[in-house]
Symmetry: C2
Subunit: 342 residues, 2 copies
């Protein structure tokens, strides 16, 4: 055994004066094997002394499992998405899996990256949280090679799906504005085609309808970025009259909304109230501390991981999960207030 080289199972077995087979079973605590207590201790002692570490690759080759889960994520420039990643990563780690991280856009755009990632034997499964643009392209390649779980996508897919209760969150946000007396409430949407944004829009429309405000539906398509929020406000400002309340689909976009109002000299919440979906540390530090509906994003990631792991380990036939616990929660700050107009 040369200096840097780690000992193999055979090294341990030889040193302990037993066969590799016995050493393997003892070190893996195989319950079906009966060895003398003394032998067991000797093997374990030698393994510890020699600093034996199992060779994960040999193990995966022998068995079918790799103990690795792929996380294909998009938009890591947004803390919202990072929360999902963190939740998924932590849940995988707790369950004994390591996680491979890839960027959805890069993977979709570079075939060699995709095949390196999906190389046979590398992964036990994949969690896919991608922008709607990459999703279809990636999904087929992934599912043809390993089990997958989709985050925040439409259900009715060929793979299990996990999402938060977007509609409920939007309802809560819209209700809040209505309770404050607002009647002209616009929804600043995400990019066109985003299912997440569509579900929130549905909640917004629901709520207006239930309050006989169905005629006031007012949707402005923007995007997930701060710049998109700013652009949406500029669009609003070109109109003769402004809504009194805004439900913004996403906290990052809402940052841009607030800055645009500040730059335009409009008071929030004096002239316009703003509420957003998703909470994050930065909201209270924006130009006006931003009222939001908190959604359990880490739980979302963790649930996706748990569902995938159940699938991998042969449990649970659950297909689609909508997370209702913890429920969406209103986090009151300073960006919403009673309407001054009627």
């Amino acid at each position: 055994m040369s200096a840097g080289a780690r000992p193999t199972l055979r090294d341990v077995a030889t040193q302990a004066g037993v066969s590799p087979a016995i050493a393997s079973r003892v070190l893996n605590a195989d319950p079906t094997v009966r060895v003398r207590e003394e032998t067991r201790e000797r093997i374990q002692g030698v393994a510890k002394d020699m600093g034996y570490v199992p060779h994960s690759v040999a193990r995966s080759l022998r068995g079918a499992r790799t103990g690795a889960i792929g996380l294909v994520m998009h938009g890591l420039d947004s803390p919202i998405n990072v929360d999902v990643l963190a939740g998924a990563q932590a849940a995988c780690a707790r369950a004994g899996y390591v996680t491979l991280l890839a960027d959805a856009e890069q993977l979709a755009g570079d075939h060699s990256q995709l095949s390196a990632f999906l190389a046979r034997g590398r992964l036990d499964g994949v969690i896919l949280h991608s922008g709607y643009g990459e999703e279809d392209r990636l999904l087929e390649a992934i599912t043809s090679s390993v089990p997958a779980v989709l985050v925040n996508s439409e259900d009715g897919r060929p793979v299990p799906t996990v999402r938060v209760d977007d509609a409920a969150a939007a309802r809560l946000a819209t209700e809040h504005l209505i309770e404050l007396g607002h009647r002209e409430i616009a929804y600043i949407a995400g990019p066109e085609g985003s299912q997440t944004s569509d579900r929130r829009e549905a909640g917004y429309r629901d709520t207006l309808a239930r309050h006989d405000l169905g005629g006031a539906v007012d949707v402005v398509h923007a995007g997930w970025s701060a710049g998109a929020g700013t652009t949406a406000v500029h669009e609003l400002l070109r109109r003769p009259t402004l809504p009194t309340g805004l439900v913004v689909a996403n906290a990052v976009a809402a940052s841009g909304v607030l800055s645009a109002f500040r730059d335009a000299g409009l008071a929030v919440p004096g002239q316009v109230s703003v509420i957003t979906i998703h909470d994050s540390w930065f909201l209270q530090h924006l130009s006006v501390a931003l009222t939001a509906v908190r959604l359990p994003l880490q739980v979302l990631g963790a649930t996706a991981a748990d569902l995938l792991i159940d699938t991998i380990e042969g449990r649970s036939p659950v297909r689609d999960v909508a997370i209702t616990e913890p429920a969406p929660e209103l986090v009151l700050r300073r960006s919403t207030g009673p309407t001054s107009r009627r």
Copy 2:
């Protein structure tokens, strides 16, 4: 070949009527092998038709390489650290490596996670960007198993180190305030023991000294979080007199600083100017758009990756890298202005 099972190299070889050895060498474009053009095409055709994907695990077991790099990161709740992660991830992917992500704190606190991550044969190397608390504990475990590169740590370590030019950034920030006429400038530091914060402090001290303001050195220890920034301001407010300018070690902490001033009713930059180190998308949306010194964080991550890959692939004896290109850059926004006092 059953339904779900992917074909092996042997399946391809058999189907093409050649031996596995030839198939292997053709598919890997081994330059030392000379085969008939017709044979080559037949093998490649069959591989494509059957959807052959090399088995990464078998490959790693045979060779010594795994094509995987571990990213051990801390503080993914801060966009600053996520930038470093994104840079490293992208650079690894470009070079054909997949990346395993782990959280430094979790790894340091859970021995079974650590050994799963460092299992023999899993990784070709590790990039470690950890809080100063976990670093020492993790470093030994990691380096005893694979090559590593340290991000933003002190040089003179047993492993190669990469960092940005913290001192230069702090000098630039401090100079800026001095040029605006400030003479009482405090440094809001990171947590005690942080080398990154210490390097920035040195730059701050340098600059004061060079302007004969060495007597005005004023360091308040805080931390990297927004809450720490807020606390530091509360501490300042208990003093009889406030500095006119603040250099804050980190943009997230600076968010808390700005909010604390807003809540206390102090005007920024009217009564106190604030500049921070690190730029990020949210700075322009804070209660006052925050002036900052931009440091190339993605480049930092990418450089760490490149250095590690050089090491893995047997090139380059470079030990410690201080990134000077692109140089720290002043990003002027609204949180700094001429001092009103003298």
